[in-house]
Amino acid sequence: MSVSTAAREPNVFARIVRHRADYLYIAPALGVMLLVIGYPIYDTIYLSFFNTPPSLAMADKIFVGTDNYVRILTSEAFLDVTINTLIWTAFSTFFAFALGLGAALALDRQFVGRGLLRGILLIPYVISAVAAAYIWRWLYHSDFGVIGALAVASGITDRPINFLDNVDTSLPSLIVVNVWKEFSFAMIMMLAGLQTVPEQLHRAAQVDGAGVFQRFWHITMPHLKGVTLVTVLLLLVANLNSFTIPWIMTAGGPAGSSDIWITAIYQLAFERIRFGVASAYSVILFVVMMSMGYFYVRALTGKDEATPG
């Protein structure tokens, strides 16, 4: 029987050969991934160094080096779009998480109708984003929207409220819709986490004199650190990628006030047919997301760093 020695180098190839059957098992999945994910990523990065004006066929694209990146990073629109993206991502994530946590805490106890309520709260998460976007678009409509009509009818305002056609309120209105759509994802994750809090800890804290809020703060929250981290990271990534709601509701307008990275990329690629620049933009977004993905993987597999408290 072989015993692995301290020196690993000579054993690597032997180990691979010994496990070649394992590699065969994962080969198909790996192959599909390379084809569907790996190759497009490679091609996008490759394309980002070229200029592809609409008047030229793709085969005649011109090599411009890092010109596209410079152009994006120094364009005046980039700063605005980046700020929009930060606002969109941060606020959506924060409120979706807070609402989800609140809902999970409320649902963590037994009461009549609990199952029904949980089902209802899941509805926004499961309905199609396109349907949700259109429904909300009409709710918000500046001339004939339901919300505006209710506001006028109840005397709060004398003309329908302008949500989407106003440069100041378009992004916040979209954030509301986004939070509405995804908070129950956070709810489900946190609910699962809450079920794992040991009952005895709560009893011990009760005996020690901790009230409901104190038990939440000292026992529940620290215990949920892992789940919280994962949930927040997943929300961040989803929000950075979130295209359907902004695009269908305002298409980045009015006047670019709700333009975020992903809608800007779409517009560049498919409306203005600038594949080269859009690819460079995509690569920038990709780098940001991969950094977050790195932290996500670390959180999943790393040790919990206990916080003082």
Partner: protein
């Protein structure tokens, strides 16, 4: 410290009665064990005393205060849990300090009390560690410390040793007993292990099916069990029980075995409701003979368990197995014929119909 009184406590969960009219008094400074199989209501009773759940009927007194309806934190009790329930993200110091922090004591007081408790339990050197860095025994001491800082009137312990391996359990048992004696603490200790109860408690309350079966010192519970359940529960190996029928006034037996009763025992047997009588004999009260002796019951060796100090011989008598302890030098083989002699003075008799002792 204070006495704790349960007066006719009932706890129902819907149609299920978890605690059925239990009355107990634990004297000030007394160590009482609540013992019984799972589901007998001992943990529920403990939680009722703690105030974690509310009783359906009955009163609970801690000291001379009636504590019905009071929150746990207002009852002046402290609890030690099976899994210790130490706060995993806090240091040992912060664990000990937590109950005091909840009481909003000033920093200096908290510091003083924590260090005092730590000293008593000899965990001063562990104050900056976290629970996961401690051994099982150390964790238990921290749990005790957390209970200690509260200056409680009574300590409630819910199977605190169940998670430990056998060797550590023995050690901790001794430490807990020492802890109790040093502090003159009132302790209510729940366990399913009758050995723990017997070795540690001043008195033990045996429970089964929500009812209190017997509440007495371990010695008396051992020597005078009030019914078949208690007889079979306390003592290890368990008391041998032979189910038989009265054959005449002074003979008990059943398919293949029979025992003559002494006049006194016959008199007790006569008090049985019916003909069914159960004989109880502890392993140390039965004599094992290699050849037939008058009055002895024949049987065959089923298996032999040498333990070093003593050898337990399992003897098949008719349909039952009777366990007898013999000196380790006695050599026996399986299926050897043996004869068992019962000591009439140490024989227990139980009513076969009601289960009560006769």
């Amino acid at each position: 410290m204070a006495e704790v009184r349960l007066v006719d406590i009932v706890k129902n969960y819907g149609a299920f009665t978890a605690v059925d009219h239990v009355s107990l008094t634990i004297a000030d400074g007394e160590f009482v064990a609540l013992v019984g199989p799972s589901g007998c209501g001992k943990t529920t009773s403990l939680n009722l005393v703690a105030g974690l759940i509310e009783q359906t009927a009955g009163d609970i007194f801690i000291g001379d205060r009636r504590v019905n309806g009071l929150d746990p934190k207002d009852r002046d009790i402290a609890m030690v849990f099976q899994n210790y329930a130490l706060y995993p993200n806090k240091t040992v110091f912060k664990n000990l300090a937590f109950p005091l922090k909840m009481r909003k004591l000033p920093r200096a007081d908290i510091d003083r009390k924590v260090r005092a408790a730590a000293k008593v339990l000899d965990i001063e050197h562990l104050l900056e560690r976290r629970p996961r860095e401690l051994s099982g025994g150390q964790q238990q001491r921290v749990a005790l410390g957390r209970a200690l800082v509260r200056d409680p009137r009574a300590f409630l312990m819910d199977e605190p040793l169940s998670n430990l391996d056998a060797k550590l359990r023995g050690q901790m048992r001794a430490e807990l007993k020492r802890f109790h004696q040093d502090l003159h603490a009132t302790v209510i200790y729940v366990t399913h292990d009758q050995l723990e109860a017997v070795t540690m408690a001043d008195r033990m309350a045996v429970m089964n099916g929500g009812k209190l079966q017997q509440y007495d010192t371990p010695a008396r519970v051992f020597s005078n069990p009030v019914n078949i359940f208690v007889a079979g529960f306390v003592g290890s190996p368990a008391m041998n029980l032979l189910y038989g029928l009265m054959e005449g006034a002074n003979r008990v037996g059943r398919d293949g075995w029979a025992v003559e009763l002494s006049a006194e025992n016959a008199g007790r047997a006569a008090r049985a409701t019916g003909r069914e009588v159960v004989l109880g004999a502890r392993h140390s009260t039965i004599a094992l003979h290699r050849e037939h002796v008058a009055g002895a019951v024949p049987g065959r060796v089923y298996t032999v368990e040498p333990t070093g100090d003593v050898t337990f011989v399992h003897v098949r008598v008719a349909q039952t197995i009777v366990v007898v302890s013999v000196a380790p030098s006695v050599m026996l083989a399986i299926d050897d014929p043996v004869w068992l002699g019962f000591d009439q003075n140490k024989l227990h008799l139980f009513d076969g119909t009601t289960g009560d002792a006769l």
